[in-house]
Symmetry: C2
Subunit: 264 residues, 2 copies
């Protein structure tokens, strides 16, 4: 099993109760990655459901999760032929850390879209992209999640933000076959899009909803981040994930708080 597979494993200890061990290398200095936590929650929800895929996940990030032991509670709310719905909570130190609503369903693996809107804007090939490996703080995450960033969206690193809410990268989870859990990771793996309009530092996610739209094919995932509005210290970030066959496989929006550097 890969590092990601191990780090997101859930052990069923009772009906709707799972033991997990949160892996420090899926975090940064400030906190464990939200996409990683959602992958853990989705594994528990799917285990407790008759369906195969985490079709819809909405998560409220209440507190900072720490590396080490934690529990996932899954409460089934409705089980249907097409979809099953549950309330899922990550608990640590006796407190809820992430609350989620997860709907599971079963997507056909050879599903062809009936209708798709425009493709996302073009992105440079992986060879033209860069790892932009930064300091040792996030070395663990960079080892676990191979990301190649579009240089046009990384000017903020050198004090030249693009002036648009954007971030783009190719993403691959080493030694791991693309699936819904890798998509959970992908929708929250980019640097905050607000860095490109002058904000600095960590931008804590308050709420993130993502939908799995198809079973991803093998290969690198194209991850496109954008946003619409920064106001009053809040911003939205939208992410679309496209697979190697050019199919839209996941879409997300999060509402987050702006870090330092901007008014409000």
């Amino acid at each position: 099993m890969s590092r990601f597979g191990d780090a997101t494993a859930v052990e069923r200890v009772a009906d709707g109760r799972y033991k997990v061990e949160l892996d420090q290398t899926f975090g940064f200095a400030e906190a464990l990655n939200g996409g990683y936590l959602m992958a853990v929650l989705a594994r528990a929800a799917v285990d407790a459901s008759p369906h195969e895929h985490p079709v819809s996940t909405a998560a409220n990030f209440l507190r900072v999760a720490k590396a080490g032991p934690a529990e996932v509670l899954v409460e089934s709310r409705k089980t249907g032929r097409t979809a099953a719905m549950s309330r899922v909570t990550l608990v640590q130190g006796g407190e809820p850390v992430v609350d989620a609503l997860i709907t599971t369903g079963t997507l056909e693996s050879d599903l062809e879209p009936h209708w798709t809107g425009e493709a996302p804007p073009a992105m440079p090939s992986p060879e033209e992209c860069s790892t932009f490996a930064s300091g040792k703080d996030d070395r663990g995450f960079a080892d676990n999640v191979e990301m190649l960033f579009d240089p046009a969206s990384m000017g903020w690193l050198d004090g030249r933000p693009s002036g648009r809410l954007e971030a783009r990268a190719w993403l691959r989870v080493p030694d791991y076959e693309n699936d819904g859990y890798a998509l959970a990771l992908a929708v929250d793996a980019l640097p905050p899009v607000v860095l490109n309009v002058g904000a600095k530092g960590w931008a804590p996610t308050v709420e993130l909803t993502w939908h799995m739209r198809a079973v991803p094919r093998p290969g690198r995932l194209a991850v496109h981040g954008g946003g619409r509005l920064v106001a009053g210290g809040w911003f939205d970030e939208e992410v679309e994930v496209w697979d190697s066959a050019g199919r839209l496989v996941a879409q997300s929006r999060q509402l987050a708080r702006v870090g330092r550097g901007l008014p409000g």
Copy 2:
């Protein structure tokens, strides 16, 4: 008070427990409107919170809500200076009908955006739009929520769908001042965008997340609906709501099931 104000009133009967009377005229033949139900949930969440506005709402629609008495349960999960988070459930006949995660916060009423992406595509003036009043089935809703539809997005009514996932209208709640609850209604008031690619009939919402981005000014709201993908019987619908001052005041995405008329 207006019909909408009366129909969304919540009566606190205990800590985190509210009595409501769901109003049949906010429904269609199939079900009560989801935006109406979210407005009811948001009122209870704000009542139980120190903050003024329903900044983020994610809802799972489990069962069809019926007109008549119901209860709203609000469970506080974290109360902070900037935001308070809760789990909120609409209960009817002893069963959960809608599960929601609601984050409340307080938005300044004179908030100016620090950064906004492109404005939405132009829409014809209200005078160039039409009510397209249909049969008596939805007369109640049409009386409660004044909507003027962009004719270019209503071709499906005459068997000429535009071929794009789209729906657009001006919206006004009669005798009611625009606020966060009116926005909850606005993000789920359009005809399903999937009607414009050939689907027919009701398209039940599975999950809807919406964010309140600013306190709306008085006047008609411009409601723009789009979408990205129809596949395997699922589609997404995105709505942006702009106020009379040209500010983005709400944004939503829902995942829903396609009605009749399309494969999958």
